[in-house]
Symmetry: C2
Subunit: 159 residues, 2 copies
C-alpha cells in the first residue's frame, strides 16, 4: 500500500476587514472584502456579479492544529447540549481546519481584484482557498432535519 | 514580507462506491459510502444521525493540477453560455481542486466507521477533507439570484 497522500493548498484570496477577533454571533452585520492573492488574475472573478451569493471556503488559521479535538464534545461546551463528534458540528477546531460559508455578494471590484461580502464568519486576515458561486440547485435536496441543539446554537448566529 | 503560507491537508475519509468515472448528470441516483480514514476515530461521527444531510468537502484528485485554468471560459465549453472566470463556476478544474456538496445522509455505520450518502457528485476513491452537518441556517440568507446559464446547466444535474 502507498502512503496516505496529502494535498498542499495555496490561498487564492484573503479576508480583509470585518472582525478582528472571532465572536460567535450576529455575523450578518459584518461586511468584509475578499481580496485575490497576487497569484490570481482579476479575470477569475468575471461573471460572478450575476450571482447574489457566494460560497467561501477558508482556513481557520487561528486554530492551533495541535489542539484540534476530534472525539465527541458538547458544542460550545454548553452542558445543555449532547456530546457529538467533530463531524456532527461545524465548529472551527476540526481536522484540516476548513470553513465553508454562503454569504451575500455586495459588490465586485475587478480593478482592485476583490469582492465585498456580507455575513462571512471569518476574521480579518483569514486565508481563502476557494470562491464558488452559490447555485440554489446545490442546496440540500429533500426534507431537512436537524437536532434541537443545532437550531438553538444557530438562533443568533447571523442576526 | 513573509512568503505566502501553504496548508497541508490530510484526507479524513474516502468515497467508496458510486460512480467509477465522472459524468455530469443525474447524481441523485447515486449512493456511496464515505469511509473514515484509519487515522479517524468512529466517535467523530457520533450524533451525526440527527441530521438529514451532510456537506462533504473533497478533492477533485483526478484533475491534473498543472491543467487548472483560471481565466474566463465557457462552462462545459458550451458556446451558448458566456465566458466566466473560474470563481464564477463550480467546475472541477479550479485552484486547490476543492469540491463542496450537500447530500442526503442515508445511514450511519459506526461499527465500520462509515456513512452512506445519496447525491454526492464525487467518484469512487475521492479523498474527503471534511464532513460537516447541514444546518439550514447556513443556507443563503435573503433573496437568491443566478444567471440563466447556471439554471440551465443544473437542470439535469441531480435527477
Amino acid at each position: 500500500m502507498s502512503a496516505t497522500p496529502t494535498y498542499e493548498m495555496h490561498p487564492v484570496a484573503w479576508v480583509r476587514g470585518g472582525r478582528a477577533e472571532p465572536r460567535d454571533d450576529a455575523w450578518d452585520a459584518e461586511q468584509a472584502w475578499v481580496v485575490l492573492d497576487e497569484t490570481m488574475d482579476a479575470e477569475t472573478l468575471r461573471g460572478l456579479d450575476a450571482f447574489s451569493h457566494v460560497e467561501i471556503v477558508f482556513v481557520f488559521d487561528r486554530v492551533d492544529p495541535e489542539r484540534v479535538e476530534t472525539v465527541a464534545r458538547r458544542p460550545r461546551n454548553n452542558p445543555a447540549w449532547p456530546r457529538v463528534g467533530v463531524f456532527a458540528q461545524r465548529g472551527k477546531s476540526r481536522p484540516n481546519r476548513i470553513g465553508v460559508t454562503r454569504c451575500g455578494l455586495e459588490e465586485i471590484d475587478l480593478t482592485n481584484r476583490r469582492i465585498r461580502v456580507r455575513g462571512l464568519d471569518a476574521v480579518d486576515g483569514t486565508p481563502v482557498l476557494d470562491i464558488k458561486p452559490h447555485m440554489p440547485a446545490f442546496d440540500a435536496r429533500g426534507e431537512v432535519r436537524q437536532p434541537d441543539w443545532a437550531a438553538e446554537l444557530m438562533a443568533g448566529y447571523w442576526t
